[in-house]
């Protein structure tokens, strides 16, 4: 039996959701892959586009309703009714971003820069960009191109490639 290691050569991530945790999951995995010397490509589509839209990317929210894992500080379950009050989602999200900052997690714009600094590539989905009536200049400067899913799949070739959907 062969024990030869066959390390990953390419990681392709698809980020389709725009909540704080979904976008960060994609960014952490993408940056982690780049740091490991793995070729990395990230495709942002649908609401995930918020993660690369200049106006939205540093103000992402986490859902305070419909999120059973949401807790108050101290670990008490977060009442759904409270989560629906005006301003609560915004305040909770801002608190969460502050905690992430304290742990050394970069804001989204800086995270994207870190990924491209190591050779990672960021793409926007053409269909979603058209749907949300966005233009290239609305997107982060770190975005290489606006492409179709077909073009993205073409980039995902190779034996040791994984596609990850978040």
């Amino acid at each position: 039996m062969s024990t030869e290691k066959k390390p990953l050569e390419k990681v392709c991530l698809i980020c389709a959701k725009g909540s704080l945790e979904d976008v960060y999951a994609s960014l952490v995995m993408a940056n982690g892959a780049v740091m490991e010397g793995i070729e990395t490509k990230v495709f942002f589509t649908f609401f995930g586009l918020d993660g690369i839209t200049k106006k939205a990317m540093n103000h992402l929210h986490t859902a305070t309703t419909g999120n059973p894992a949401m807790r108050m500080p101290g670990g008490i379950p977060f009442p759904t009714m409270l989560g629906g009050l005006p301003g609560v989602e915004s305040a909770v999200s801002s608190m969460m971003r502050k905690q992430m900052d304290a742990l050394g997690m970069p804001p989204v714009d800086e995270f994207l820069e870190m990924i491209t600094a190591g050779g990672g590539e960021i793409y926007a989905c053409k269909l979603a960009v058209d749907m949300f009536k966005l233009k290239k200049e609305d997107l982060s400067d770190e975005v290489s191109d606006i492409i179709t899913i077909g073009e993205f799949y073409e980039m995902c070739d190779g034996d040791r490639t994984q596609i990850i959907f978040t």
Binding site: G37, G104, M114, G118
Partner: protein, 103 residues
């Protein structure tokens, strides 16, 4: 843990080849580990390596982000100095433990 002779010195290394004791490190060891990885060390490399060693002694967690804000290099330059392993390879060459950070 195993014993390995690097640059004529017998040192304890982890399974991945990281020095167990950063005090066993010297510049000759750094050069030999770097050559094994395929990196030729320049004075700029040593600035980064010394920074990593200082921060490790101070028990500060290291990330490519913190190195990028050190004033020595930015993240892009760090990748140029240590291709495909900005934190992993630099830590190995610096004789400090394998990084445990995700960023």
């Amino acid at each position: 843990m195993s014993v390995k002779t690097i640059a004529g010195v017998s040192v304890n290394v982890s399974e991945d080849g990281y020095l167990d004791d950063m005090n066993q490190w010297n510049e000759e060891i750094a050069k030999e580990i770097a050559t094994e990885i395929g990196i030729e060390l320049t004075p700029k490399h040593f600035e980064v390596i010394n920074y990593l060693r200082e921060k490790t002694l101070a028990k500060e967690a290291l990330t490519i982000r913190s190195v990028g804000k050190s004033g020595i290099v930015d993240v892009k330059q760090l990748y140029v100095l240590f291709p495909k392993g900005p934190l992993k390879f630099s830590s190995k060459i610096a004789g400090i433990p394998k990084p445990t950070s995700c960023i």
